[in-house]
């Protein structure tokens, strides 16, 4: 998404806008959900930092919609358009997640003949956003796509270019649907509704620093866009190759040598899928897996 924001920002800048584009990460390293913000205006932008009331939200990983902690819908109102990278119909997404505004969905980065990869998804998401804003000329956007892949092979440049333009063209029906947002005066944000808590004794208020292995409570499973699923018919209870090589110790081995993936922690790196000697672990889209869990 950092790349998508970069392409969109460049294209807006080339069109003549003042632009800010910035990614926002948590303390985690790569793989955790992340945001990238783009602001554009035809005058000096006085706002800084995170966008609190977006006009358009682009979601590259639809699996995040169902995770409140991911906060993708934060600040969205009836006026906020939502683009979701998904094959699900927009109305179904809107109904399922009770989204207040208008929804557009489209499978980003899948236009044949290109292979689906991160660069294609980024270009595609940028293309959809550019057209929905409707202020960027097709040629300007194309130049931004090409500039993004400077130094890459002809094939890689073509993937970015064609996937970006395919999305741009596919969004013809919602050209310029996102209206220009209102003024955002540079006033300090209102102070939050604090709840005053009395001072507790440190032994109560602070987590026990002597406690062991507390990272168990951190649910890195939220990071996944795909999940590994063990097919127990084919798993030959080998010498737990998957469990040894999983970087995150997210596969436990039972007494009877059966490996169990802990989905609360599995980050979806797919190492286990690629190393299992019996080819007994499949890669499944997280969204599909979650949908199945709800209605098996």
């Amino acid at each position: 998404m950092k790349t998508a924001a970069n392409i969109l920002g460049d294209a807006l800048f080339a069109t003549g806008y003042e632009v800010q584009d910035a990614p926002r990460y948590g303390a985690e390293r790569r793989g955790a959900p992340m945001f990238a913000y783009v602001r554009a205006a035809d005058r000096t932008i006085v706002e800084r930092g995170a966008i609190v009331t977006p006009d358009l939200v682009v979601v590259a990983d639809a699996g995040l919609l169902g995770i409140p902690a991911a906060g993708v819908m934060q600040g969205a109102s009836e006026a906020t358009w939502l683009f979701v990278n998904s094959t699900e119909p927009a109305q179904a997404i809107r109904a399922q997640w009770r989204y207040p505004g208008q929804v557009v969905s489209w499978p980003a980065g899948f236009t044949p003949p290109a292979m689906h990869n991160a660069a294609a998804t980024s270009a595609s998401c940028a293309g959809a956003a550019a057209r929905m804003l409707g202020v960027i000329a097709r040629e300007t956007f194309e130049s931004a796509l090409i500039a993004q892949s400077t130094g890459r092979s002809a094939g890689a440049i073509e993937t970015t270019r064609s996937q970006g333009l395919a999305a741009f063209d596919a969004m013809g029906g919602v050209d310029r649907c996102v209206p220009e947002g209102g003024e955002h005066p540079a006033t300090p944000p209102a102070s939050p509704d604090w709840i005053e808590l009395g001072a507790d004794d440190a032994a109560l208020a602070a987590p026990d620093i002597y406690a062991q292995a507390t990272s168990e409570q951190a649910r890195t499973g939220l990071w996944r866009s795909h999940r590994p699923v063990i097919d127990y018919e084919h798993c030959n209870r080998c010498s737990w190759v998957c469990s040894t090589l999983c970087p995150d110790s997210a596969i436990r081995v039972d007494e009877d040598r059966t490996p169990r993936i802990h989905y609360d922690h599995c980050k979806g790196c797919m190492v286990c899928v690629l190393v299992c000697p019996a080819h007994a672990i499949r890669q499944v889209s997280e969204q599909a897996a979650q949908a199945q869990e709800i209605e098996p």
């Binding site: 990272s215 997210a250 190393v275």
Partner: protein
């Protein structure tokens, strides 16, 4: 820790001493090596960690460790380990810590510390004969700050401080040789992708006293630019191409624990990583690829 030598993968630990839920990248080769090493070392460790990616492991209020963890500046992890070792020894001398409850001081740092900023403190600690295990995860750059080049960056690799068609102009420092030159108790190179070789070496190190280095090449999806799932495959290729020789030093002798034969061309390793993409795109740089191959061939010719 098991007393029996590890003969096959089936002997490797089945339970994990490092708990999940850390902030490391998905597919982190350093984390893979660390958990494999700790699975063998067990829980009676104090980890002394210099600034780097791994300092995000114990991200307050969470920790994946069962034992204590100490955070030091990049240059001073071995000095921190000295303090820990001294404190433990004092407790033992005063009878406040039973010998069976003694802990191992484990220094954990990246290559930025191990090959560069912390080398002086390391050299002094080895000289003093400090009883500790140094575990370095070598992702060949300053990963935590955006993969700037370090003294461990291989020739021609792209980093955020060595872009352009030639990549990094310098040579990767031979830390194994630097350590061995100090004549410490034990030095070994390992990789998470070969867990059996790693476990044997960690087990051997654990049975010794004095300064011991476990140096793990750590395929890094973020800094090396590859898909997280390829971490193990890239690690295996580092060994099969001969780029990362697996070896150990003990009692004044160096032994190669795996000898790739025949060696896979280095190109197989290079093409899978974005940091070497400029060697193949937009045009192939045959001269530079051949130079990298020649360095590897020369190493193995010299080994004999």
């Amino acid at each position: 820790m098991s007393e029996q030598p590890y003969k096959s993968l089936k002997d490797l630990p089945r339970s994990h001493a490092l708990s999940p839920g850390t902030a490391m990248c998905a597919g982190c080769g350093g984390l893979e090596a660390l958990h494999e090493a700790l699975d063998v070392l067990g829980r009676k460790t104090v980890v002394v960690n210099a600034a780097g990616c791994m300092t995000l492991l114990a991200n307050y209020p969470y920790t994946p460790f069962h034992g204590s963890w100490l955070y030091t500046s990049m240059a001073s992890a071995p000095a921190g380990a000295q303090g820990v070792r001294d404190a433990l020894d004092i407790l033992r001398d005063r009878g406040r810590l039973a010998d069976t409850d003694d802990l191992t001081a484990v220094v954990l740092t990246g290559d930025g510390s191990a090959y560069g900023m912390g080398l002086s403190a390391t050299s002094a600690a080895i000289e003093r004969g400090l009883d500790f295990i140094y575990l370095c995860y070598d992702n060949e750059g300053y990963g935590n700050t955006g993969q700037q080049s370090s003294a461990a960056t291989p020739h021609a690799a792209k980093t955020s401080t060595s872009a352009g068609t030639q990549g990094y102009a310098g040579e990767k420092k031979d830390l194994f040789a630097v350590w061995a030159a100090h004549k410490p108790s034990y030095v070994a190179t390992v990789i998470g992708a070969d867990p059996l070789d790693l476990a044997r070496k960690v087990q051997r190190a654990a049975a010794l006293k004095g300064p011991r280095l476990i140096l793990a090449l750590a395929p890094c999806p973020t800094g090396w630019d590859f898909d997280p799932g390829d971490t193990v495959e890239i690690g295996r290729l580092a060994v099969k191409t001969g780029i990362w020789p697996l070896k150990e030093y003990a009692d004044g002798r160096i032994v190669h624990t795996r000898v790739p034969n025949p060696r896979v061309p280095v190109e197989e390793y290079l093409t899978r990583q974005g940091r070497f993409r400029h060697l193949f795109e937009p045009e192939r740089n045959d001269a530079l690829i051949a130079a990298i191959q020649a360095r590897v061939d020369r190493y193995w010719d010299d080994v004999g």
